[in-house]
Amino acid sequence: MRRAPTLLGAWTAAVYAFVMAPIVVVLLASLTAAEYTSFPPEGLSLRWYLAIPEHPEFLESFRISLVVALVTGAVATALGTPAALVLVRHRFRGRDALNAFFLSPLMLPAVVLGIALLQFYTLVGLTRTPLALVFGHLIITITLPLVRPGVVAGATFAVIVSFDDVSVALFLAGPHSTTLPVRIFSYIEQTFDPLATAVCSVLILIALAAVLVIERSIGLGRMFGEETTHD
């Protein structure tokens, strides 16, 4: 029992390095002074961060993402929490089927949902509006109160899932309702210049702030529905 734990510890450290590598690399690469993305970065500057305001489409998309995420979080919590209470507290015929129905979007390939929703919204004339995004995100977040303990944890998680989503939003975004992750996806499909690293770094820093706030308030493990057997 003496040697095994050290080997295990080394393996764990290596896997954590693997997990953190892409995030750290983006943060460091964004500080480059060069015209192209490289790692290690060449020189040290904040020029690519200062270049972000020259691309107002990123700021506009950030605003849209934030509004869509907050509205989605509020509606998903309002609709999902009572349903979660009913499904947890009461026994009735068809309860398991209903539970499975509400959980099914989590196992559904996002591309299936994306195609289905875009087709449908085109039929009913809702397509390419922020409302379409909220409706789309509602489907993947309404379930969250069902699997998270606590209203605040569920709501926070819904906001984050909506804010981070690309796969569904890619289908539903219009010229005036492009969320930030979709904007970044379309941008880096064309080029991965240092501007992309700077924008991605801003998103990482926002996520980091969110991690700190959530860990202090509700606990990150709790938000992800971890069974707290310890403490």
């Binding site: 295990l8 764990t12 896997v15 954590y16 997990v19 953190m20 590598a21 892409p22 995030i23 690399v25 983006v26 192209y36 993305t37 490289s38 790692f39 290690p40 609709l79 999902g80 009572p82 349903a83 009913v86 009461h90 209903l98 509400f102 196992m107 390939p109 996002a110 591309v111 299936v112 195609i115 289905a116 929703l117 875009l118 087709q119 449908f120 039929l123 409706f135 509602l138 489907i139 309404i142 981070d164 690309v166 796969s167 890619l170 992750p181 970044i184 996806f185 880096i188 991965f192 992309a196 690293t197 991605c200 996520a207 991690v211 990150l220 493990g221 992800f224 971890e226 069974e227 310890h230």
Partner: protein, 286 residues
């Protein structure tokens, strides 16, 4: 009692309406659409036909994409299991502050958008990236290797994005093991290795199965990571469905491809449920 039941039922109505109207109906709609003909020149929909599914299943090009999707799904699941099991084991044995930090390291990346995390691999594997910079500076290669837009890049990206789910599933199963069982095994003369192989490993299999199911379904249906790290040349099913429907406007064919993909992930889920019910892990699953 009656009015209480009614109130309970009323609470379920709003989410049910949303789900039926904005989820079930759209899905049914494209399912029907996948049996429609499509004229590429006029863009008009034709009569009911199995041609879309026939076109997919009869063409080695499309079947190749299906095969690649499955292969990448299995490879990322296997890699996530190999990387993740020891981490889950380490995590389940850690206590207090150390455990909290380890948990934070596994959960925190989940708050960063998949786009950003896949983008990180673009920077690492790119021509001026970390790997090529290291290899050239060590003079192991003369010119940058082409690492991006390969299947290997996709597997790395997918494993990275979904590894947390594997670790969390296995750690949850390990946490449920009664420590008394381990003490009992050792009191009865089992070496630590024997105790692990005969007690811990079998009891953790439900977590392994759940983790594999989650990673496999997520990896085979992943879209953003393969699109960024594989590019248009190394296509997977999701990208094909996206391309056919959104970019080429052949909605019936795109829908058919989407349902082939859904059939695969659906089969994986059903197999898992079967295993859960009566498989040889029956006793072990809660």
């Amino acid at each position: 009692m009656k009015s209480g039941r009614l109130a309970v039922a009323l609470l379920l109505v709003p989410p049910l309406v949303v789900f039926v109207g904005l989820y079930l109906l759209p899905l049914a709609n494209i399912f029907v659409l996948s049996f429609f003909g499509f004229d590429r020149n006029t863009g008009r929909l034709g009569g009911v036909t199995l041609a879309n599914y026939g076109k997919f299943l009869g063409d080695p090009f499309y079947l190749g994409i299906l095969w690649r999707t499955l292969k990448l799904g299995v490879a990322s699941t296997a890699l996530a299991l190999v990387l993740g099991y020891p981490v889950a084991y380490y995590l389940s044995r850690a206590r207090g502050r150390r455990r909290a930090y380890l948990m934070l390291g596994i959960l925190a990346p989940l708050l960063v958008s998949v786009v950003v995390r896949s983008f990180g691999w673009l920077v690492i594997l790119g021509p001026n990236g970390l790997v090529n910079a290291t290899l050239t500076s060590l003079r192991l290669v003369d010119e940058p290797l082409r690492l991006l837009y390969t299947e290997t890049a996709i597997v790395l990206g997918l494993t990275h994005v979904f590894l947390s789910f594997m670790v969390l599933s296995i750690a949850a199963a390990l946490d449920r093991i009664d420590p008394a069982l381990l003490r009992a095994a050792q009191n009865l003369g089992a070496s630590p290795r024997q105790a692990f192989v005969r007690v811990v490993l079998p009891l953790s299999l439900p977590g392994v199965a759940a983790g594999c199911l989650i990673v496999f379904t997520l990896a085979t249906s992943a879209f953003i990571t393969p699109a960024l790290l594989g590019g248009p040349r190394v296509k997977v099913m999701s990208f094909l469905a996206y391309q056919q429907s959104l970019l080429l406007s052949d909605w019936p064919y795109g829908s058919a491809i989407a349902f082939v993909l859904l059939a695969i992930t659906g089969t994986a889920v059903l197999l898992y449920l079967r295993l859960l019910e009566r498989g040889r892990f029956g006793v072990v699953f809660r």
